[in-house]
Amino acid sequence: MAEYSAFNLLRNAISGHKDWRRAWRDPEPKKQYDVIIVGAGGHGLASAFYLAKNHGIRNIAVLEKGYLGGGNTGRNTTIVRSNYMLEENAHFYEKSLQLWEQLSQELNFNVMFSQRGVTNLAHSDNQMDAFARRGNTMRMNGIDAELLDRAQVRREMPYLDFSDNARFPIYGGLKQPRGGTARHDAVAWGLARGADRLGVDIIQNCEVIGFKQKGNRITAVETSRGEIGCERIGFAVAGHTGHLAAKLGMKLPIESHVLQAFVSEPLKTLIDTVVTYGAGHFYVSQSDKGGLVFGGDIDMYNSYAQRGNTPMIEHVVSAGLAMIPSLSRLRILRHWGGIMDMSMDGSPIIGKSPIDNLYLNCGWCYGGFKATPGSGWVFAHTIANDQPHAINAGLTLDRFERGRMVDERGAGPYPNRH
């Protein structure tokens, strides 16, 4: 019988909830692990989970500087989608979406994956054309997509600005019905519990300070809780990859930037989908608790501070009110920042590194959350087999040298423009 179920919830309700086990242990680090994953965010935990589950490796540690899920996993706007055009991204994100569809059952932890649809609005013929290309490509790849005209968008989202006062009128939109949202913290907790139950040691408050190397290999990790040996090691510390790689003298095609996110006071359901503005950078959905969760562009400058500034806040909110004027009297409850690994082509890097037994999972830009299970799945495969899976083979570190960028926005080697 599954540990988490309606039945067990009722049984515990009667006994005062005294019998629930810890969701994950708090182990002391062992001397040596087969695999060390640095970073207990969604990606690191998913990597450990799938290493244990799919590849039978159980002697794994996930090292976390602070508390698990405390980085971008718990700071994002929780959007899940696979509406990518380029081959290298499309199959990867679609795999991830398929994993999302079974994740709650797989983990026996409700991650509240809500397939409420994701619609990108278009505000010009050119944008409609670009969306048509993307949507058609998705469909040819077997990914769901629908092209909505203005009337269809209006039927689904009457609260958008269809008045003559809209600076950029809505022409239509590209919708992915299977897209949606998930409860971000629950993803980290569910994966942590799942990995823990498979024997993975999740070691919190354990900061990586340095590495011991022999030849072109890392033999051990020096941490705030002592030295820990490893056969293989994977980085899943998006936002801080550059900083960690620097300890190995390694430089990457990545800049760290701060991305702000916002939540409003809770409301009765007003927005029943995920919708993004096409004439500015703004995306919004409503959490199950009722808060409107929204975000926009990164603040544009390199940053490791988990807080941003007012110009971008004002810009994002303006775009929001340009899209949905009736939000004007609602109030922002909180805003915060997360640190993004902005890669040079806007796509992630997930694969081998120049060091033999080091694997990189980084460069997620704005898009890491939706990739969580897929990232863990392919990263586990890559670590276990010492080579990428077919679906992350295009997302290698050496693609820049080879001139095989995966530039979904066509923005070029300017990390803050992706």
Partner: protein
């Protein structure tokens, strides 16, 4: 005056308070009309009318009343106003009463008294922290369960109506910014202000005074508010001091910039004419004094949430400031000396104080003595362990507790009461300090976090710094204010600190959980109980961030102001760690929720982005133009003729007409939107040579050349023509979309990478109006328009550039063509754009000239096989677009060395081609994907896509397209399928040369 009975205010005291008894105000709550006074808040007016039940809690829909008298209010949230001004989740304690105010309770159905959702409370043993993570995983899936959960969740309702009010943004500088107009803030502003420093003092409420407005205190032997009014007058008299009330400093950002919102009209029914509702202030301060006060904490005991249970400080506020009795019979329960002052104030207001329950083993000194002298029963070493009452408090259970606060040690007794005033101590408002990068530290003396070392130019003073005594607040305020001025180079004179009559107080003794069974609310709004915190601990969610996220502690609209400290302390007890080690969650801006409207200001609706119009815009509008957005620009898409509407058939007819008449005669299009850059200096040719892939050293004066530029990574960036208009002067055009980026790109190379080049560039996009005159008769029209210029093919050949005059205006004429016709581009100073345009149209009339729009322009461009936005998508190379032959191998240019990487040379890269439907009539849409076979199942290998389409080429009589396909021109003659699964379309297309029209350029050169 005769009032209807219902206008009685049965809980209003006969005298006292800051209310204006000569100004009665009627208002509505849940459809009933009541009366209060100007100076009331909605909360105080409701209490005056005996309304105790005001809201329902988030999860269990427990009846809730008014808990506080300030921004920390967790319970009394209402929907305020109606229509487009509807505002959910508005704190009754912060709403200043105005005539006609209409408020409704929220999160209940069908009404507040009989909320059926309170059935949730019966299920509360199941609805513990995180219950939803443990269930709802099975069929029919989360989307099904979610539907019901979302119906129950949320607090107030939003609206779909637009806000009729407007908002402003302000930017200002000051030397010393003081945030908070209580005693410490006033003293700080006085001290800094008298030094001559520019001082701003922000106060959230409608007047200065802070807690002094709510307390019976004397300063210099007089009521403290007299001193406050004197200080306010003194500040008013200082030229360099600005006092802003109804203004909340809500966020502390980089560069010592504080964001504040000023509520100009929220205390009125509607904003006065031409006035805004709120203003967002960005204040750039030299130094900041944070005098933001402290927030009283509740005590965590069973039933601590009933209407009638209230923070002790709030009870004092209601009796002293508003002259309202929050109840008739009171019990006061605290772990500090606040209880005695509260009891005295309530007693003085005619409320029967049944008992003071002090959880400390022994009461303390003067305060207790005063209370006892007044005949109030004071019990020490005891606690209120439960409350009773269905929709409001009617009695409490009291019992002695052990010295460690963990167990009940004696018999329980009950007291009837309808008011229970509680105090668990005070938590300094360290939010702004924390936003500024400071890390608060735990002070066991007051059992709360106080500001730590500052990271920006700020320092806290008064209760916000953990200084709780009035005399100390005043002294510290003056000291910190003076220090701020001194650090900025001012010399503050000493200011006189008034003497206070406050009694000495004894220390608080922390009591985080009162013993006893039952639900003890930690976070009242989100119904987080102490057992939820215990469960979180049991399950390993022991970091404060996990605790917050797992239980939702502190995630309500009150941001945990009354709950976080208690919750974190309970977790510390569970963990057996110190509160210091357990720490506190990050304080995120804003300090109080801020309306989105204020943050967006004027940049909404049509003002979201500037609208750019060419100099000829009005002419277009007067002549039937249908405009379309092109970035910020508005461009004529087509010109309608009389009787035509914007139905598709009419649009198509207009487009065809414009193409046909231009190709057959002459037409003119407004191309003012193209980016234009003036390039001057002796190294200009060298600069262009490095920018563009083709060579520029040989271009003579008076000639134009088409150029293509790459990004540094070898991908095509932009194209356009550049003309040599003087020995060391060039005139560049860019695409409309890239006008800004190309300009910055050029400036970057000149200033950062090649400072040795003597070149100056300036954008002149706005300075020149530009029009393209195209068609076989364009020369005749031009000849008639220009003054003294030979426009013959010999004198002005293809790619020739000349200066002339048209309509008396200096003009540049470029013989360049986008349409593929004999064509000229005319540039004139923008101020004369319309005059010149009209002159050309006038002289062209006899040749049948027509204006044409962007649609006809695009079709002619596709017919001619020119690349444009659809092809320049940021991923294509010069080779991909068939433009590789332009590259000069004799020189270095931006992007050259990155364009020979393996991926760029891959023969599988899709390349530029033309496409026509095999059946000669089907329209292959832009965005179609090209595949080998229309019968394959996904995933289908893709060969390329259609980047531009003319759904009907009027010139060729059938649809044509441009696209990129694997193999490119080597596949001319082959057929592929253009798939558009989004519309269920599949069209067989033949690959052809992309130049559909006049391949040899005879018309261009004619």
């Amino acid at each position: 005056m005769i009032f209807n009975r219902r206008f009685d205010q049965p809980f209003r005291l006969a005298e006292g308070g800051e209310i204006d008894r000569l100004a009665p105000v009627s208002f509505r709550f849940d459809g009933k009309t009541y009366q209060g006074y100007l100076g009331d808040t909605l909360a105080s007016a409701l209490l005056a009318n005996g309304v105790r039940l005001v809201g329902r809690s988030f999860k269990y829909h427990r009846p809730r009343g008014i808990y506080s008298a300030g921004p920390e209010e967790p319970n009394a949230l209402v929907e305020l106003r109606t229509g487009g001004r509807h505002e959910p989740n508005t704190r009754a304690t912060m709403i200043e009463l105005f005539a006609g105010l209409d408020a409704r309770s929220q999160n209940r159905w069908p009404n507040l008294l009989l909320d059926v959702m309170q059935l949730n409370a019966l299920l509360s043993p199941v609805f513990v922290a995180g219950f939803y993570y443990k269930t709802f995983m099975g069929m029919p899936g989360w989307r099904f369960y979610e539907h019901f959960i979302r119906k129950a969740a949320g607090m107030g309702s939003g609206t779909t109506l637009s806000d009729p009010d407007s908002y402003d943004k302000m930017h200002t500088h000051c030397d010393v910014l003081v945030i908070g107009g209580g005693p410490a803030g006033i003293a700080a502003a006085l001290a800094a202000g008298r030094s001559g420093a520019r001082v701003m003092l922000l106060e959230e409420s409608d007047a200065l005074g802070g807690r002094l407005r709510s307390e019976r205190r004397n300063l210099n032997g007089e009521p403290a508010m007299r001193w406050v009014r004197g200080a306010a007058a003194a500040l008013e008299a200082l030229d360099t001091v600005t006092v802003m009330t109804r203004t909340t400093g809500f966020g502390y950002y980089d560069g010592n910039v504080i964001a504040a919102v000023e509520r100009i009209s929220d205390h009125l029914a509607t904003p006065p004419e031409h006035a805004v509702r709120q203003r967002l202030w960005h204040i750039r301060a030299g130094r900041v004094v944070i005098a933001a006060g402290a927030t009283e904490r509740p005590l965590v005991f069973t039933g601590n949430d009933r209407p009638g249970v209230m923070l002790a400080s709030a009870a004092r506020t209601y009796v002293n400031r508003f002259a309202v009795q929050p109840g008739k019979a009171a019990v006061v329960f605290a772990n500090n000396d606040d209880c005695y002052q509260t009891a005295l104030d309530l007693h003085r207001a005619g409320i029967e104080v049944q008992a003071v329950v002090d959880s400390r083993p022994d009461g303390h000194g003067a305060a207790k003595q005063q209370a006892e002298t007044a005949g109030i029963e004071c019990v020490t070493g005891a606690a209120v362990i439960a409350s009773h009452g269905y929709l409001g408090l009617n009695s409490v259970d009291i019992a002695p507790i052990s010295a460690d606060g963990l167990t009940v040690t004696g018999p329980v007794w009950q007291l009837s009461c309808d008011l229970l005033a509680i105090s668990g101590g005070w938590s300094p408002n360290v939010h702004l300090h924390s936003h500024a990068g400071g890390r608060p530290v735990y002070d066991p003396g007051i059992a709360a976090f106080i500001p730590g070392p500052s990271r920006q130019a700020e320092r806290s003073a008064g209760a916000g710094a953990g200084t709780l005594g009035l005399a100390d607040c005043l002294r510290q305020g003056a000291e910190v204010g003076a220090e701020a001025a001194t650090l900025l180079g001012f010399t503050p004179p000493a200011i006189e600190i008034p003497t206070s009559d406050e009694p000495a107080t004894g220390p608080l003794k922390a009591l985080w959980r009162v013993p006893g069974p039952g639900k003890k609310y930690v976070d009242l709004q989100d119904d987080v109980t102490s057992s939820d915190v215990e469960l979180a601990h049991r399950e390993g969610y022991i970091s404060v961030e996990h605790l917050k996220r797992y239980t939702t502690l502190g995630m309500g609209t009150d941001q945990g102001k009354t709950s976080n400290m208690n919750g974190h302390a309970i977790m510390a007890e569970e963990r057996g760690d110190s509160i210091e080690d357990v720490g506190t969650t990050m304080f995120r801006p804003p300090y109080n929720p801020i309306s989105l409207g204020a943050i967006a200001g004027r940049d909404i609706g049509m003002h979201f982005s500037p609208t750019r119009r060419s100099a000829m815009h009005d002419w277009h509008a007067e002549n039937g133009a249908v405009f379309v957005e092109a970035g910020q620009w508005m461009r004529p898409q087509i010109y309608r003729r009389d009787g035509e509407s914007d139905v598709k058939a009419d649009m198509d007819r207009a487009i065809s007409r414009e193409v046909t008449e231009t190709r057959g005669g002459v037409g003119m299009v407004d191309v003012s939107t193209l980016g234009k850059i003036d390039i001057q200096g002796p190294d200009s040719a060298e600069f262009l040579n490095r920018l563009y892939i083709n060579g520029w050293k040989t271009l003579p004066v008076g000639r134009a050349r088409y150029g293509l530029m790459l990004r540094e990574d070898g991908i095509v960036f932009d194209d356009g023509t550049t003309s040599r208009v003087g020995e060391n002067r060039y005139f560049m055009t860019t695409t409309t979309a890239n006008a800004g980026p190309v300009m910055s790109h050029m400036e970057e190379y000149l200033q950062v990478h090649w400072p040795e080049l003597n070149v100056k560039v300036v954008s002149v996009t706005e300075q020149w109006a530009a029009m393209a005159l195209a068609g076989p008769k364009s020369r005749d029209v031009l000849a008639a328009a220009v003054e003294g210029l030979d426009v013959s093919n010999e004198a002005l050949p293809f790619m020739g550039v000349r200066e002339t005059r048209i309509a008396g205006v200096k003009a540049r004429v470029f013989r360049i063509s986008f349409s593929g016709e004999l064509a000229y581009e005319i540039n004139v100073p923008a101020d004369h754009g319309r005059a010149v345009w009209e002159r050309v149209m006038a002289v062209g009339a006899e040749h049948g000239i027509i204006p044409y729009g962007t649609e006809a322009m695009a079709i002619m461009r596709i017919e001619k096989g020119h690349v444009a936005g659809g092809e320049l998508d940021g991923r294509t190379t010069a080779d991909d677009l068939g433009l590789g032959r332009m590259s000069s191998s004799k020189k270095e240019y931006i992007g050259r060395r990155m364009a020979d990487r393996e991926g760029f040379l891959d023969p599988a890269r899709p390349k530029f081609v033309g496409l026509v439907p095999v059946d000669g009539k089907s329209r292959a849409r832009v965005g179609s994907v090209l595949v080998a076979d229309n019968t394959m199942q996904p995933p289908v290998p893709m060969l390329g896509h259609i980047s531009s389409s003319a759904y009907l080429s009027p010139t060729l009589g059938h649809p044509i397209s441009l696209g990129l396909v694997e193999g490119g021109m080597s596949r001319v003659g082959e057929t592929v399928w253009a798939m558009f699964p989004l519309r269920d379309e599949a069209i067989e297309v033949r690959i052809v040369d992309p130049v559909f029209y006049d391949k040899d350029g005879e018309r261009l050169h004619a």
